[in-house]
């Protein structure tokens, strides 16, 4: 009833091509963004910002990057953790080694170097795909794992091998409190999400999807597979690099290569699968799921255990997490390869028809 599109006629192609073509959607998204910038800071507490909202936003951003490569362009990548690492360490070096380097420039430069790494390690995609490509991307993961541990230059030759930043500020605004961090990251994420959405609904997005769906046919139409695949790697790793830099600078503060190891790559892949391959919105659903589930499990499982008189340790909760995620991945792939985003669009579809059943 509320969600009807009656009376919303599109008289120009431009209006038909908008991101949110249904007026109620536009109102909803503006409301959500307004709430995110204004409402949440008024209501949330430090813990919420620090432990849930900030990691949620940054992981969603990284997932957008991964989704562009895996979901839209169909190139499987198990090396996203490495590109986050490149973004983090290069942003660190640019920030610390150059006098008076503005924070935002440093973060973007992290993305830039990650982009270069992505293009180089994306070259195998021009020759192989699927499983072979997955293994090639693992080369990136393990190589960078090693590089940032062994080559002292990246950690400014610190004896402990860790990197650390403090005192972040942008145009005089000190990013100190958890709320500051939240707003800063939120700004980045909103901008990047918009840019990413524009790319995927435009010509390059169609090229990526064409390569995904049938790359032989794509070249017959005149799409250059090389250009499409390498731009997918480039754009994807740029975004992932920026996310990595944000993760290091804003969320962690001090970090080591382990923060970006293969488990991170798997985590991002899971976010994208659960959230929905080929959906920008899905990245947010998936990230929320991945961030919230461990917290829920941590409270829920010991409580369930206590009902039965069984003691459930944190290690056990960790194992349970693994099992649940693993089972969910398989379940989603079997039942709904389009992930949570598909459920969302089905819900919206039902909402359009409400109160009628069909």
């Amino acid at each position: 009833m509320f969600y009807r599109e009656n009376g919303q006629f599109k008289t120009t192609y431009k209006s038909d091509q908008q991101i949110f073509a249904v007026k109620q959607d536009r109102i909803a998204i503006i409301a959500i963004i307004a709430f995110a910038f204004i409402g949440v800071p008024m209501l949330a507490d430090e813990y919420l910002f620090r432990a849930i909202l900030v990691p949620f936003l940054i992981l969603a951003l990284a997932a957008i990057g991964v989704n562009i490569l895996v979901g839209y362009c169909g190139q499987i990548s198990l090396g996203s953790g490495a590109f986050m690492a490149v973004g983090a360490y290069m942003a660190y070096n640019v920030f610390m080694r150059v006098e008076d380097m503005p924070l935002i420039v440093a973060l973007l430069s992290g993305g830039f170097f990650a982009m270069l790494a992505g293009i180089i390690f994306g070259i195998p995609s021009l020759r192989v795909k699927g499983l072979y490509l997955a293994v090639a991307t693992l080369a990136a993961q393990f190589f960078f794992d090693w590089l940032f541990v062994r080559v002292r230059w990246f950690t400014l030759d610190s004896p402990a091998g860790t990197a650390e930043v403090s005192n972040l500020s942008v145009f005089g605004w000190q990013i100190a409190t958890p709320m500051d961090k939240y707003l800063f990251v939120l700004g980045f994420v909103v901008v990047f999400a918009l840019l990413a959405k524009n790319l995927v609904r435009g010509p390059i997005g169609r090229e990526w999807m064409a390569i995904r769906d049938m790359d032989v046919a794509a070249s017959v139409i005149g799409i250059r597979p090389m250009y499409a695949k390498l731009t997918a790697f480039a754009v994807s790793s740029f975004i992932i690099g920026v996310a990595g830099a944000l993760w290091a600078f804003v969320h962690l503060g001090s970090w080591e290569p382990l923060s970006f190891d293969i488990n991170r790559s798997f985590q991002l892949l899971f976010i994208v699968i659960i959230g929905g391959l080929g959906s920008i919105m899905g990245c947010f659903f998936g990230a929320a799921f991945i961030v919230i589930t461990p917290i829920v499990l941590n409270q829920l499982l010991p409580w369930i255990g206590s009902l039965f008189g069984v003691e459930i340790s944190t290690a056990m909760v960790g194992h349970a997490e693994f099992m649940i995620f693993g089972a969910l991945i398989v379940w989603f792939l079997i039942k709904e390869p389009h992930g949570l985003a598909k459920y969302w669009s089905m819900a919206r579809h039902k909402l359009r028809l409400w109160p009628f059943p069909h």
């Binding site: 169609r206 032989v216 070249s219 017959v220």
Partner: protein, 261 residues
């Protein structure tokens, strides 16, 4: 029917031979195609018809021979080159992008003509938006022409076979080609669908003057709409001429019906 003007030779296939390991798919094939005509390639199954189209299109690289397009001779065609030269095609087994909508599939056909770079696309500002709308308009005209308006936003994978074939044709048309290679466009269709497809093919040839190279099994269709016919059998050319000539050619008859001993 008004006599249409058939132009000069636009495409020349010279002594093409194609082998896959030990199998000779094409042996020394030569024929030409004139501008604005409808040229059919026929022959029993396995004669090498699709392979021939694949050679013209750059999907296969023949071991011998060359292809001349508008005076430029190529030993090996490269798919993108061919597309840029104005040659488009449909596929026997439908090579559609199943995950994308009808509109998006057709829009991919416009890709060669899209100029805006990545940054403009990301910002979706001014020129990028205008360009998108312009191409959308062109694509919508093709959608009208093929009468698939109701399905424009449906993911192609969900459409019935007959409509998918139309989308395949639409994507090729979106490239505004000078030469259109159609690989069994009517395969698997019922009588009405075939009539519709024939109508589309003839309209395209009539209105836009597009040269058409057509592989087809249905003899009545071939004899009806083509200007000239090439007949292949076991990778060799056994007939070449106007439909009536070819129909009466004893080699062609025996290839289809088998010789009696």
């Amino acid at each position: 029917m008004s006599k249409k003007k058939i132009g000069d030779v636009i495409l020349d296939v010279n002594n093409i031979s194609l082998r896959f390991g030990g199998v000779k798919a094409l042996s020394d094939i030569s024929f030409d195609v004139r501008e604005h005509e409808i040229r059919a390639i026929i022959g029993p199954n396995g004669a090498g018809k699709s392979s021939m189209l694949n050679c013209i299109n750059g999907v296969y690289k023949p071991q011998e021979g060359s292809i001349t397009f508008r005076g430029q001779t190529f030993k090996h065609m490269n798919s993108r080159q061919v597309a840029e030269l104005g040659v488009a095609r449909t596929f026997q087994n439908l090579a559609l992008f199943k995950g994308m909508s009808v509109i998006d599939n057709l829009m991919t056909g416009r890709n060669l003509r899209i100029k805006s770079n990545l940054l403009l696309q990301a910002l979706r500002w001014g020129p990028a938006e205008r360009e998108e709308s312009e191409h959308r308009e062109k694509v919508e005209r093709i959608i009208d022409f093929l009468e698939i308006q109701a399905h424009r936003k449906t993911p192609v994978g969900q459409l019935p076979y007959g409509l998918q074939k139309r989308v395949d044709l639409g994507r090729a048309l979106a490239m505004e080609p000078q030469v259109l290679l159609l690989d069994e466009p009517m395969a698997g269709m019922n009588v009405e669908e075939k009539q519709d497809m024939c109508r589309f093919v003839l309209d395209v040839n009539d209105e836009f003057g597009t040269t058409i190279v057509l592989i087809e099994h249905d003899m009545s269709v071939v004899m009806d709409i083509s200007d000239r016919v090439v007949v292949l059998d076991y990778g060799k050319k056994i007939g070449d001429g106007v439909p009536d000539e070819v129909r009466a050619n004893p080699d062609v008859i025996s290839a289809y019906l088998g010789t009696s001993h």
